[in-house]
Amino acid sequence: MMKNAEVRIAKLFWKITFKNKAVFILTFIIGILLAYAVFTGWENFKTQDEIRAEYQEQARQDWLDNPDKHPHRMAHYGHFAFRPKTPLSVFDFGMESFLGSSIFLEAHVQNPTNFSEAEFSTGMLRFGEISIAMILQTLLPLLIFFLGFRSIAAERENGTLKILMSQGLSRKQLLAGKSLGMTLVMSTLYFPVILTTVLLWTLLQEMNISMDETYRLLLIVVMYFIYLCIFCVIAVIISALSKTSKTALTSSIGVWLLLTILLPRAGQSLGSYLYRPPSKAGFQAQIENDILKTGDSHNPDDPHYQALKDSVLAVYNVDSVTQLPFNYSGLVMKEGEKITAGIHNDHLKRLRGIYARQNSFSRYLAFLDPYMGIKNLSMALSGTDYNSFTDFQDQAEEYRYHLAQSLNDLQIKHISNTAKSSADPASRLDKRHWAEIEDFEYRPLGIGGAFRSELISFLSLLFWVLLLALILNRLSKTLKVL
């Protein structure tokens, strides 16, 4: 008689849910919000992307327009790196608003990444931003809880649970059926929404999508489905454990608050409380001190450069640097750049290590809180996480170093040792060399990088699937009928 009991329970649950008018109203509100999220996400992407591309081009044009001059002047002229927005940032804004968008790249100096949206925000940003990801991560689980809190508790309250059981339905079938029903309900909401989003997004991209992005998007669709399934099952479990539907509702709301509002903040607060990063002044002073210790090219009596000079003179067997067959100050500059860049990168690595330790609380919290798991995974897949940002910073720094050293090489090769200063006409280099240095172009991380950096988040979601299966299994033996 009860062969397909699970499926029938699920179907019934689905039907009852969609008979409820309130469901339509809530779904409608969320639908409007999603449309708004797609719209503003796209607007923002388009505007920002155009602005950044325009000034990247402008900066390059300015660079190329430079007349003949001493290469070191060009090293100080420098260049800009503007961080392009990833197309999937339309889906998940992630940290986008808190990440700077432009770096000035010049010789000797590693400038900060400036102009984040947050620096110009009114303080409203504290309330968050509406993105498709935000709706799927926080609002849909709440809707699932609203739809699911009655699933078993109400049957118990009405006494219908007793009747079902006496008719030969097993606890296992009941739990499986209700979970399946919840998942069906969720899918009826989720899939149309996500399909519309993907379609819209593809259209807006003018169908111009790389394989890498396709994989990212597919993974996003699958991982969000798993994430929402987790909430469906949690809703059923809470309902099964509650005596009345009112307690089921209040417990569900409590769980939702804990998972999406409190735990994330608590975890990150604890992390930043335990690991203290240096102040900006401290950070820069440490770098300055290390440079003084290793070798300061601006100090005429610096022992490191004395030694360099002596060894070069010995190799070429001459008495003074003016007799060298290449430009000696170019060589000093090259050595200086190598030392300062190395020291800066060491300190930056240490600083990022501190940040990583602060963030590890949020990362491992995913085993307690699936919201953190999907949040991290979704940002990484959308290319709006911290890792994608540091990757940009690293590429920009690599380019800066390459720019400075290429110009030092030009100086070493083409500038005479007897030139008095950079203003000396004899020390001018033909401007055709400027175009030889290619423009900065950011190459985004592949999906492999995103996957590696968020392995823990991925595992945490798998862990949740297993954990809930175990709990369901256990409940199918111990569930109270009355």
Partner: protein, 449 residues
């Protein structure tokens, strides 16, 4: 009334709710304390390193004042009132210290602080968060089943029959809950004031009164929803939906809108253009640069350009051109940020959560307004430094002519105050409107059983 009070406070849910909010409140105070300590540490370190840094450069470049001033940075601190610990606002994003050399200001004005973006993304549990996000939940949990629970359990019939004034009974029940909530708030202030060393001044008064009014707003909203006399579950869902609209959806949607309505290409334009404004002068006729410089600062006409390839007079004139040639873009950026801010506070009047957050940030000097004034002051600070050092550099004064110990970190105090009418009116309107609505609906429906 006394019985109502005892009955209410004995309930387990109330004890859990209250202890939870007190715990969250105490954590928020610790977070705020840590935030202030971090800023103070940063200020102390800046002061120490500034001194070391200046001493070292005075030693290294002892023969060349122009070269020394090429390197050294002077810092300006945005003073942080103790109230800042209660409403961190934008102070975790924006640096409270700006360090500048006398070179082009635009290239350094917006330099970002060192930050872990994950911390910024998740946000702080500061007192304003507890007040704006969590207190309403406590109020909702206290009141959502008033009347409806009595109706569901059948007690309402007895109350309706026995009491001459059932609305009076409802009001008393609300009054008890209001007293307990305000008690919780007072307790948190009683801890905050000594622990954070907050001065009992007008700002604290405003901060406190605004929080009380905000709590009254939520009581008014709950009173209105309860007056509809639906089931407990319905009330819970409706109130939570209102909460989500007010603390998530509306502010976030408005934020998206403002970002899109006021994009800031001026920021990038300024930074790209100032580079050109300065650097292209290396390859131009020196006279052109000097003419423009003398036109900006007629008082320096008396310093004539010396012979030779290079002079600091010409160099700093070139640097000045970096700023002068983007003054239009820079002003446009400043104007747009002002517009963003005005638009935000105008819309916020209709959304109590947003209004309170922006107002508390204003009182605690942690909003965009404060940041803009700090940036303006940074500009004036930079100008003062230039006007002090330019004549000495151009006149060939020796490095030793300055007493370098005098160059301490300077402090900027933002003295602007928020008007009380602007602060309280929107909240008062909300309280009155919802209470009147609730009152009428109650009157109409209360006797239905």
């Amino acid at each position: 009334m006394k019985l109502l009070f005892i009955n209410f406070t004995r309930s387990n849910n109330v004890k859990i709710g209250l202890s939870f909010i007190i715990l969250a409140g105490v954590i928020s105070l610790l977070v705020g304390k840590q935030h202030i300590e971090k800023i103070n540490r940063s200020v102390d370190e800046t002061a120490r390193y500034q001194q070391e840094h200046i001493e070292r450069h005075a030693e290294y470049n002892k023969d060349d004042l122009g070269l020394m001033l090429y390197y050294i940075k002077f810092s300006l601190v945005n003073s942080t009132p103790a109230l800042n610990a209660l409403s961190i606002g934008q102070r975790d994003v924006n640096p409270s210290v700006k360090s500048v050399t006398i070179r082009t200001l635009e290239a350094q004005k917006y330099d970002a602080d060192l930050n872990n973006p994950y911390n910024l993304l998740i946000g702080n549990i500061d007192f304003s968060f507890v007040l704006i996000f969590l207190f309403p939940l406590l109020i909702i949990s206290f009141t959502y089943n008033l009347v409806s629970e009595e109706k569901e359990s059948g007690i309402w019939k007895i109350i309706a029959v026995q009491s001459k004034n059932p609305l009076g009974f409802v009001l008393k029940a609300f009054g008890v809950r209001l007293l307990v909530t305000i008690g919780g708030l007072l307790l948190l202030y009683a801890i905050a004031v000594p622990v954070l060393g907050i001065a009992p001044d007008a700002d604290l008064g405003k901060f406190f009164l605004a929080s009380v009014l905000y709590i009254l707003v939520w009581f008014a909203i709950c009173f209105f929803v309860v007056s509809l006399q639906k089931s407990s579950s319905f009330n819970a869902i409706i109130l939570l939906t209102i909460w989500i609209l007010l603390v998530f959806v509306l502010p976030a949607a408005i934020n998206n809108d403002l970002q899109n309505r006021y994009p800031l290409p001026e920021a990038l334009e300024t930074t790209v253009k100032q580079r050109k404004g300065y650097h292209e002068k290396w390859d131009m006729d020196k006279e052109l640069t000097m003419d423009k410089f003398y036109a900006h600062y007629p008082q320096f006409k008396k310093y004539a350009l010396p012979e030779g390839d290079f002079s600091w007079l010409w160099y700093y004139a070139m640097q000045q051109m970096g700023d002068d040639e983007v003054s239009e873009q820079s002003a446009a950026l400043r104007k747009k940020l002002g517009q963003r801010n005005t638009a935000a506070s105008r819309i916020a009047q209709f959304i109590p959560t947003l209004h309170l957050q922006l107002s508390l940030n204003d009182i605690a000097k942690s909003g965009l307004d404060n940041q803009l004034r700090f940036l303006d002051e940074t500009g004036r600070f930079h100008e003062r430094l230039k006007l002090h050092f330019y004549p000495k550099i151009f006149g060939g004064a020796p490095v030793t002519s300055e007493n370098w110990d005098d160059f301490k970190v300077e402090v900027f105090s933002d003295e602007t105050t928020l008007s009380r009418t602007r602060l309280y009116t929107p909240l008062l309107i909300f309280i009155v409107v919802f209470n009147i609505l609730g009152w009428f609906i109650f009157k109409k429906r209360l006797h239905r059983l």
